[in-house]
Structures are given as structure tokens and as C-alpha cells.
Symmetry: C2
DNA sequence: CTGTTAGCGCCTTCAG
DNA sequence: CTGAAGGCGCTAACAG
């Protein structure tokens, strides 16, 4: 009954299969390597049965060691608890599957030191390429790594670091948000963002917001980060006089969560007292307030798939200049931005 | 400028370090293997500098091949898009980190065939142990695997399959839910579950619900799965006469999402017309309806950590009978179960 | 078509 | 304390 708990040490190897089948290791290797055409029908059949009988599984580590190809792709995720990251990861995984690669994921946990450690770990396991959702520090390490491995960045780029990048067209997304809000009659906007810690996508969104607000005289806009006494500052925004109806623009899913929680806490009627639009579209947006939260959805699956495809291109020898893919966001209108009279 | 895009083939190996430092491969090996005590101070120092200078990283694959230890743990996740899975995974990862292991995650995507494929893949990469959130089919495969590797199950067990298991105390969680609802004055309950497809945790929750309702004459209870015309059936529940105030008990996060969406669609006032309690506690629960959704939180982090610890025990040679850890859920009361007069 | 021979990068006796 | 030699499981030329 407890035989179950006795992992019999020593897996069956190619040698055992070879001798059991009465052929050479090379033949078995050819069989499992897909060179079945080079084998006589009978030999192949005999090997097949022996493999089946013994439950042989080729050791990918050993294969990788010899061939220099591990069929492993590494992915570094800044925060696995962030639905965006998981969604992109899902896309990468789908594409990996499609191309016969296995994905190894490491979670940085927003920690610089772990980013370093995991980068080293991934490398030491001979991943063939890397998809990185970086924190934005460690330019040195990454540059160094890029000399050894193809590498593509997701969502976040780094200053002075040339690499393929796939993410969102932040400027356009911000434009869509502002246009939509303005069209719906909002005039006094607040961009809520997680702390501007250098993360490029956050910076880009904030910068685009500032620029576009500055260029639009009929709108007023402020920026607020979700740290510190966020709720208090949000209250200030709500109460101070402005040019017209107020709306919050949450720069990502976390900001949307925080903003909504604080608005509730402040006793706002959602969304009669204030409008809300959020970047990212999380599955609970439709459930909040009166009619749900209007969203700008990122094509996360496509972002993941494209990231892997860029990587594959490099693996196949592409030497072109760094590519950039900036996907457009998709506006999904819900109750939080109902038309209103200004 | 484009040197960045030229992954120089061929990483630096132990041999190069050895000759560059003027020592033997063995010495370098001893250095990186932690046998620094066996080396002369001067030799160690010289090796250290050479390694640094050349940017040498030991190839874990090769080490694994030789030593039989890869320091790799595999995890099979049924659905990476499920926040529960991700949360547990986060716990596993934390523990891995703590013990010097690297986690390789594969996502089954709720697909039987992929479960098989990934199981094979993981094994072929010489993971030392496996943490499995299985779909519950493939008892054969898993049993077979367990003969080679330590393996611990998370959340879901399999009939006739003896293995360490860590998850929730479903019976107690259901009891907590029912007790709470009853205490708050609800009398007519509806358990909403994702399809009962054999997933053990779903079955257990459904079974516990039936049993406890049957044993409690003052309560009426029905079970509804989220497939088919769920909303229509939910409407039936809402309109048909019952013994008193009605409440929905969502058996997990997905069920909570679906239920809430349907309740809104049906025009229910949340949560004056109906009560709601949900298993799992997702970050958006506080934002919904009047005061948020009451939850039974699972200690996901602890579940993940415990799973890895069980695995480590096996890796360290433990041969005890299969262990089971069933964590209690934690009740977090919110507005969806306000006191009411029956 | 098939077997033999070298290693891939590293660790591990076993002698110095 | 250190080096030389052999081999982990597998593949890749070469010869047959």
C-alpha cells in the first residue's frame, strides 16, 4: 500500500532501452529524436514497444546539454498577483505550447534583488530565451544577459536598453480615455496611478495625460498616486471646485481597485457623483456601482503571443533592429461613464 | 549598437575558468560546489576573481545530470486564470525561494490532454518533485508518476490515489457559511457551484451542503451549477416561495462572479433583496453592492507553503503514510449578509 | 539502415 | 590541498 510512497530511484535510460530492445543507443536516440525515417520498420516497432514497456522518458536535461537546445523559455514576471501579468503569461504559454516550448516562470515579487537572482537562475537552467516584465532597474544585468540570450521586454521598457518590446500604446490609450470622458461631459479629471517608481508604462501614461490635458483648454487634470493618504487627497479632489463634472481615470487595475474602494469609503454614489474609467479590464468591473466600470482593455493574450513570436524570430537568427509593438486598447463602455449634462 | 542583438553563442564553461585561473576543473567545481573549505585561501580567491571576470555561471543542467539533483520543483496548475491557483502558487514560490529551489509552472488550462503532456514535460526536465492541482482524471498517469517522484496534491484529491494533500477543510467551511447565514436570518439557501465535473473540492462542498441542509429542518437548500441557463434558474430560485429570506452561497470565486453578475442582471438590489456569501476572498469583494460580499477566505499562502513543505519532507526521505492538511477558512463579514428579521 | 566513438558541462572518486 | 580520469543520459558525426 505504501509502495506509492517509494519513488524508485533511477529512471530508465536510453541504454536500458537499447539493450532491452537489442539495438544500439544511437537507434533509440534516432527514434525519439524523430528520425524515424532512418529506421527499419521492424526496428522502430521494436523500440517503440520497449519504450512503452519500460516507461522510458528521454531526459531533456541531457538532451539539452548535448544539443544546446533545451526548448525552455524563461519568463520573469514583476508581480504574479497582478492579473495583467497573469493574462500576458497565459498568452505566452499558449504560444509556447504551439511551438513546442516549455515555459519557466519566475516571479520577481516587485523585488529588485529577486529579479537579479531569478535572472541568474533562469540563465543557469539554459533557457533559450527570456521574456521579461522588468522592474526597470538592473539595466546592467539585463544588458549583460542580452549578450547571451535573446530577450524581449513586456509592458515595460528601460532607458538606454535596446530590446524588442511589446506592450500597449499608452499614449493612444490615454487619448481614448480622455476623449471618451470629455465626450461624456466630464471636465475635471484625476489620473490615479500606482506610485511612479520608474516603471515605464506608468510614466508614459502619466506623461501622456499631462501633455494631453495641457493641450486641451476645456479640461482640467491632476495626477494622484495611490500611496500615502490617498483617500484624503481624493477627497480634496472631489470637494474642490472645478470646471465641471469630475471623473477619475485609473491607470491600471490596481489603481481602479484602490480608487473604487476609496470612493466608496468617501460615500460617493457610484457613479452619479463621479465618473470612472480604468485601464485594464478585470472581470469584476461590470459588477461595481451603477452599471459597472468603463474600461480600456489591453489585448493581453495577443501581447503574450507576440512577445513569444518576437523571441522565436530572434532564436531563428533575426538580427534586425529592436522591434516595438504597441497594441491599441479597446474601449468598453459601462455605467461609470454615462452621458451627463455639463 | 546592435551588438546587443548578437547573443554570442557558447557560454563560458568551467574549463575556461579553470585554465584562465591556472587551476584544474576539479578545483573550480569544488569552489562553486561550496567545498571552499577544501581549497587554499589563495586558490579560492583566484578562482573567485576569474569567475567574476569571465561572468561564469554554472550550468545547472549539467550539474543536475551528474548529481541527480536539479533543485527544480514542478507545479501543475489547473487554471492559471483562477486567482486561487495563482495565490497558492505564490505561496509555493515563496517556500521554494526559501529552500533554494526553482519553481517550474505548467498550466493545464483545464484540459485533460495538456495535463498529460505537461506531466511528461515536467518529468523530462528532471524536476525533483511535483505539486499538482489536478483535474482529477488520469489516475493512472499520476500513480505511475508517483512511483518516480514525490508528489503532493493541492485542493483536489483523486479517488483511489494515496498522496499527500493540502487544501481547505471544505466541510467546516460549508458549516461556517450555513451557520453564518442562518444566524443572520436567512432560511432559503442556494449553493452556486461551477459544474460538478469530478473536481473533488467542488464535490465535497456540494456534499457537505446537502448533508448539513438535510440535518437542519429550519433551512431549505438547493444546489445550482453555473452552466446552462444559469440566470433563468437563479430567477426561479428568487421568485419561488420559500421558508424565509433567501441567500446565495457561492462555492468559489468564479461562482461568486457569475452569481453577482446574474443577480444584477435580474435587477436584484444587492444585498437587500438577497444575501450572499462566497468561498474565497477576492480583492474586489468589498466593492460590490451595499457593503461588499461576505467571504470565507482560504489561507492560500499557507496552503502553498505547506504543500512545498510536505514535498520537501518526502524529498528528505520521509516514508510516512499520506498526510492531509485541511486548513480552516476565515469568515470575513461584509454587507452582503447584514442581520435581517426572518 | 545501424553501430561505434566522442564528447556536451559538470561532479566525484582516487591518487598524488 | 589539488589534479587526472571516468561517467551522468544523450546526440552527432563517422564508419560500416
Amino acid at each position: 500500500m505504501n509502495s506509492i510512497l517509494l519513488p524508485s530511484r533511477g529512471r530508465v535510460t536510453i541504454s536500458e532501452v537499447a539493450s532491452a530492445a537489442g539495438v544500439s543507443k544511437a537507434s533509440v536516440s534516432r527514434y525519439i529524436g524523430g528520425d524515424r525515417q532512418l529506421l527499419a520498420e521492424a526496428t522502430a516497432e521494436r523500440i517503440a514497444q520497449t519504450i512503452e514497456r519500460l516507461g522510458f522518458r528521454p531526459n531533456q536535461m541531457a538532451r539539452g546539454l548535448k544539443r544546446g537546445r533545451t526548448r525552455l523559455i524563461g519568463m520573469l514576471v514583476a508581480d504574479i498577483l497582478n492579473p495583467y501579468s497573469v493574462a500576458v503569461m497565459h498568452g505566452v504559454e499558449t504560444a509556447c505550447q504551439r511551438h513546442g516550448y516549455t515555459l519557466v516562470v519566475c516571479n520577481t515579487n516587485r523585488d529588485d534583488e529577486q529579479e537579479c537572482r531569478h535572472l541568474a537562475a533562469l540563465q543557469s537552467y539554459n533557457v533559450e530565451g527570456l521574456i521579461v516584465n522588468t522592474l526597470g532597474h538592473h539595466a546592467g544585468e539585463l544588458k549583460d544577459l542580452q549578450n547571451r540570450l535573446p530577450l524581449v521586454l513586456v509592458d515595460r521598457q528601460m532607458e538606454g536598453f535596446e530590446a524588442d518590446l511589446v506592450g500597449l500604446d499608452n499614449t493612444q490609450a490615454v487619448r481614448q480615455a480622455i476623449d471618451h470622458l470629455q465626450q461624456r461631459g466630464y471636465r475635471d479629471l484625476l489620473l490615479v496611478s500606482e506610485p511612479l517608481d520608474g516603471t515605464s508604462s506608468r510614466q508614459e501614461r502619466a506623461q501622456a495625460f499631462r501633455t494631453q490635458i495641457a493641450a486641451n483648454p476645456s479640461l482640467k487634470g491632476r495626477l494622484l498616486e495611490t500611496n500615502g493618504d490617498f483617500t484624503a487627497k481624493l477627497k480634496t479632489f472631489l470637494t474642490e471646485p472645478g470646471p465641471g463634472p469630475k471623473a477619475v481615470f485609473a491607470a491600471n487595475g490596481m489603481a481602479a481597485l484602490t480608487s473604487t474602494a476609496s470612493l466608496r469609503e468617501l460615500g460617493c454614489r457610484l457613479f452619479e457623483d463621479i465618473g470612472l474609467i480604468a485601464l485594464d479590464d478585470l472581470d469584476w468591473y461590470p459588477l461595481v456601482g451603477n452599471g459597472g466600470i468603463t474600461a480600456l482593455a489591453q489585448p493581453t493574450e495577443a501581447i503574450g503571443i507576440t512577445a513569444l513570436e518576437y523571441l522565436l524570430a530572434r532564436l531563428n537568427g533575426s538580427r534586425s533592429a529592436a522591434q516595438r509593438m504597441a497594441f491599441p486598447a479597446e474601449l468598453r463602455i459601462r455605467g461609470s461613464t454615462q452621458p451627463r449634462i455639463s
